[in-house]
C-alpha cells in the first residue's frame, strides 16, 4: 500500500500537463469515455468496519487509456489490509468499454467486458452482484486468499445527459469461469455540477469544480435464484472536486440498505490524467 501511494506521489510531481476525470461515481459507469491518447491513473480506496469482523482498507490502482474516442481500456491492481490480519495483493482486472453508437442520443449505450483474476480476499467492492454480502468477506485473509476467482463480467451501460444532469444505469452480469452460475447486479446514479456555466476567472473553489451525485447499487441474485432475496444494496451520496493542478478528489460515504450489507462504507478516490500520453511530437 505504501509503495502504491509513493508511486502516485511521484507521478504527481512529474509536472506533466494533467487534468482528471469529472464523474463522481465509484461503482456506476456513465457513457463518458477516456479521451483518445489520455492516460488516467487513479487510486480508489474503500474502508469499512464490518459488524463482527475486522475493519479493512482496500486499494485499487486504476490505469485507464483512451485507445480511440469509442474504445477505452483499463487495468486494475487490487490489494487490501485487514486490521489484525495481513496486507495482501488480491489480483488484477482488465476491462474494455465500447461505444457502439457514434452519435449522442437520449440514452447512450456502452458495452463493457472485463476479465478478472482475483482471490477470495478481494474487498474492493467494485460492484455488487449475486448474493454478495458482508458475511462473504468476514473470513480471515489466511483462508479466503486460497480461493482463486477467474471471472468474466459484462455490463450494459446506459447513460444520458440532460440540462447538466447525468443519469446512468448499469446492468451487470458476471460469470465465475469455474462452472458457477451467472450472477446479476445493478447500479444507477445521478449527478450534476454545482454550477453549469464556468466562471470567467481561474479559481480553486468555484462551484463548477464540484460535482454532486447519488449512487444506488446492489445484487440481483443468480441465474437460479434471481431476485432481491439474500442480496445486499447500498445508497451512496458522492462528491467530486476537480482541483487545480489536474487532480480530482472524490469521496463517498455509502450506506447499506439491508442486513446483508455493510452498515457503512467509506470510499475515496484520487485521480490524475496525463494528457496525450506518448503523443508529444509535432503534427
Amino acid at each position: 500500500m505504501q509503495s502504491v501511494c509513493t508511486a502516485l506521489l511521484l507521478l504527481s510531481l512529474l509536472g506533466t500537463a494533467l487534468h482528471a476525470a469529472d464523474t463522481p461515481y465509484f461503482v456506476t459507469y456513465s457513457h463518458r469515455m477516456e479521451e483518445p491518447g489520455n492516460l488516467e491513473i487513479a487510486f480508489d480506496g474503500t474502508t469499512a468496519s464490518p459488524v463482527g469482523g475486522n475493519s479493512f482498507l482496500s486499494g485499487l490502482l486504476e490505469i485507464e487509456y483512451g485507445v480511440t474516442a469509442w474504445w477505452t481500456t483499463e487495468v486494475y491492481f487490487s490489494g487490501q489490509n485487514t486490521a489484525g490480519e495481513s496486507t495482501l495483493f488480491t489480483g488484477h482486472r482488465w476491462e474494455n468499454r465500447f461505444r457502439p453508437l457514434m452519435r449522442e442520443h437520449w440514452i447512450n449505450p456502452v458495452l463493457y467486458i472485463e476479465y478478472s483474476d482475483v482471490n477470495g480476499a478481494d474487498k474492493s467492492l467494485k460492484e455488487i452482484v449475486g448474493h454478495d454480502g458482508m458475511a462473504d468477506q468476514s473470513e480471515p485473509n489466511a483462508n479466503s486468499r486460497l480461493e482463486r476467482k477467474r471471472e468474466l463480467e459484462t455490463k450494459l451501460i446506459l447513460s444520458s445527459h440532460f440540462k447538466g444532469w447525468n443519469i446512468s444505469e448499469n446492468i451487470i452480469a458476471e460469470k465465475n469461469l469455474a462452472n458457477e452460475p451467472w450472477e446479476f447486479g445493478y447500479a444507477a446514479a445521478v449527478s450534476r455540477p454545482l454550477a453549469l456555466a464556468a466562471s470567467p476567472r481561474p479559481c480553486r473553489l468555484c462551484r463548477e469544480n464540484f460535482r454532486l451525485g447519488l449512487e444506488l447499487y446492489g445484487g440481483l441474485g443468480t441465474r437460479h435464484e434471481f431476485g432481491l432475496h439474500d442480496t445486499s444494496h447500498y445508497l451512496a451520496p458522492t462528491v467530486a472536486w476537480q482541483m487545480p493542478g489536474g487532480v480530482t478528489l472524490a469521496v463517498s460515504p455509502s450506506f447499506g440498505l439491508n442486513g446483508n450489507s455493510y452498515p457503512a462504507l467509506f470510499r475515496f478516490s484520487l485521480a490524475f490524467e496525463i494528457n496525450q500520453f506518448g503523443r508529444t511530437g509535432p503534427r
Binding site: A17, H19, D22, T23, S30, R32, M33, E35, P36, G37, N38, G66, T68, A69, W70, W71, N96, F98, R99, P100, M102, R103, E104, L111, I113, L152, T154, H161, K163, G164, N166, K175, L177, P193, L196, A197, A198, S199, P200, R201, P202, E208, N275, Q276, R279, P282, R283
Partner: protein, 122 residues
C-alpha cells in the same frame, strides 16, 4: 471455454461494427442544430470562461495556440470562425468518434457555448 470464445467473438463484433469510416462532418449536422444561436455570443465574460475551459479540455489536442496536433485540426482557420455556432455546438456534443474527436456531452451546455464564444471571438 465456449464462454470465453463467445465473449471474444462479441468483442471482435463490437470492434468491426465500430470500425472508423471517414466522411464530411458538416453534411451530418441537422438543419435545426445548425440554426441554434449562441446564448453567450459577444459576451466578454463568456469568452474569458471559454478560454479557461479551452485550456483545460481542448488544448491537450488542439494546443493552447489552437494550431492543432496529430489529427486535431487547426482551430484558427476562418472555417471555424465563420461556421454557424450551432454546427460547432453539434460537433462538441456528438464528437466525431471515428475521426478521434471525443464527445463533450458531459460538459454542461453552458460551458460548451462558452468555449464556442471564445473560439469565435478570437
Amino acid at each position: 471455454m465456449k464462454l470465453v470464445a463467445a465473449s471474444l467473438l462479441c468483442l471482435c463484433g463490437a470492434l468491426v461494427c465500430a470500425t472508423p469510416r471517414t466522411s464530411e462532418w458538416r453534411d451530418k449536422v441537422p438543419q435545426e442544430a445548425r440554426l441554434r444561436a449562441n446564448p453567450y455570443a459577444e459576451e466578454p465574460s463568456a469568452a474569458q470562461a471559454g478560454e479557461k475551459l479551452f485550456a483545460r479540455y481542448c488544448s491537450p489536442c488542439h494546443r493552447a495556440s489552437r494550431t492543432g496536433k496529430w489529427r486535431a485540426p487547426d482551430l484558427r482557420s476562418p472555417v471555424v470562425r465563420n461556421t454557424p455556432p450551432g454546427e460547432l455546438f453539434w460537433i462538441l456534443r456528438n464528437g466525431m468518434l471515428r475521426q478521434g474527436m471525443p464527445s463533450w456531452s458531459h460538459l454542461p451546455e453552458e460551458q460548451r457555448w462558452q468555449i464556442i464564444t471564445w473560439l469565435q471571438t478570437r
